[in-house]
């Protein structure tokens, strides 16, 4: 069996490319060195773990590099084909032996390809999870617009998980800066349904409990329409059409005034 497999290196890398060759060689060395007749069909045995590890590593790098599943799967399947070819050449006089050996090879290579696929998908999912984390992290900045006034522009759809993050960030920032007014700007929220409105009301109530005032701004006409059509009561929340008017209101509450200076043209 070992002899049959040692000369695999050349056949496998039909797909050329240096990196691929080194990957295949690594895999085949591991495969060959760990082969023994008694554990041949038992993939759970310890002897197989280096092979599975290498395959897993290859699958994960491929997932990160953006290979398609077909390409990754073919990597293992071409190896199987190559081995079967060699088998055919070696065992020419005994069809029965050829058949049993081929079946063994088939079984083991199929399990290996399943392992590869699993790791490939796991790798992909990791990438997706990381991206989701990054998006939520980026998309909820709390801006300090004035001493004691915080603004929080929300861009994208609000779901429960995101509201939770928004709320936590906002409340934490309120504690840290000691701000008494928070402006929640929803001009970047594409649609407001009853659930989103519920989340907004929750955020406003939580801010109120902390001892700060919360203003919702950036309500577009369509959103105002949907809110009223849905019968959502926003009457006990201060709402403003634009961030500018929310800021003006905050200044009034804090008894601040923005003035135009009468400039004397004396340069």
């Amino acid at each position: 069996m070992k002899n049959q497999l040692t000369d695999e290196g050349l056949r496998e890398d039909l797909i050329s490319n240096d990196e691929l060759r080194s990957q295949s060689e690594e895999l085949i060395t591991a495969l060959v060195s760990n082969l023994s007749t008694e554990n041949f069909t038992n993939l759970d045995s310890d002897e197989w773990s280096p092979v599975i590890e290498i395959l897993g590593g290859i699958a994960i790098t491929r997932a990160r590099q953006g290979f398609s599943p077909r390409e990754t799967g073919n990597f293992v399947f071409t190896l199987k084909e190559a081995i079967l070819d060699v088998l055919q050449q070696e065992i020419t006089n005994d069809p029965m032996a050829l058949f049993t050996e081929s079946q063994k090879i088939n079984r083991i290579m199929d399990s290996l390809s399943v392992v590869t696929f699993e790791t490939f998908i796991k790798g992909r999912e990791e990438v997706i999870l990381r991206q989701t984390d990054e998006i939520t992290e980026i998309s909820t900045p709390v801006i300090r617009v004035w001493d004691g006034i915080l603004a929080l522009p929300i861009i994208g759809t609000l779901d429960s998980a995101r509201t939770q993050i928004v709320m936590e960030n906002l409340l934490q920032e309120i504690v840290e800066t000691g701000s008494s007014i928070a402006i929640l700007d929803i001009s970047g929220v594409p649609a407001v349904d009853s659930l989103v409105a519920q989340h907004l009301i929750k955020t406003v109530s939580a801010t109120r409990l902390m001892g700060a005032e919360c203003i919702i701004s950036g309500i577009r006409p369509e959103i105002a329409q949907t809110v009223v059509h849905l019968g959502i009561d926003l009457s006990n929340i201060i709402t403003k059409a634009t961030l500018a008017s929310a800021l003006a209101y905050s200044f009034k509450v804090m008894r601040l005034e923005v003035k135009k200076i009468n400039t004397v043209t004396k340069f």
Binding site: L171, K202, A206, M210, G211
Partner: protein, 136 residues
């Protein structure tokens, strides 16, 4: 048995909760505080819960109760220094504590109470002058 001290400062009562409240302690606090408001004729109650990290619905209700009871006895209640986690929990429990005033810290709470009391006094004065005017 544990007791939460209630301090008097001018027309206000200060309560600083520095331990995690268990039900019995909260009930005692409620009773003591109402007694104290009645005895000292306080105009405002400041409850500092900045050290409280765990609340349940019972605690939320007790705070609401204290506020309503003080209101009947003509004293405003201000809860100050609520932790973000506590605020989120109360909201998730569906207890927005309507009728309780809130402030970020002791100083802001004190200012809020003062301004509220001034307003009511001004209103009273206005009523007084109006009455005088009518009397004339």
């Amino acid at each position: 048995m544990d007791k939460i001290p209630i301090l008097r400062m001018g027309a206000f009562l200060l309560v600083t909760i520095q331990v995690d409240l268990y039900d019995r302690l909260a009930l005692n606090l409620e009773a003591d505080l109402v007694q104290m408001v009645n005895k000292t004729n306080a105009k405002g109650v400041l409850i500092d819960i900045s050290a409280v990290s765990i609340v349940d619905s019972f605690m939320g209700r007790i705070i609401g109760n204290i506020a309503s009871m003080s209101k009947i006895l003509d004293a405003e209640t201000v809860v100050v220094g609520m932790q973000p986690a506590v605020a989120i929990t109360l909201i998730e429990l569906g207890l927005p504590l309507k009728g309780v005033h809130t402030a970020l810290d002791m100083e802001k709470g004190m200012n809020l109470l003062k301004s509220m009391i001034n307003e009511t006094e001004e209103d009273a004065d206005e009523d007084q002058t109006e009455n005088d005017f009518i009397a004339e």
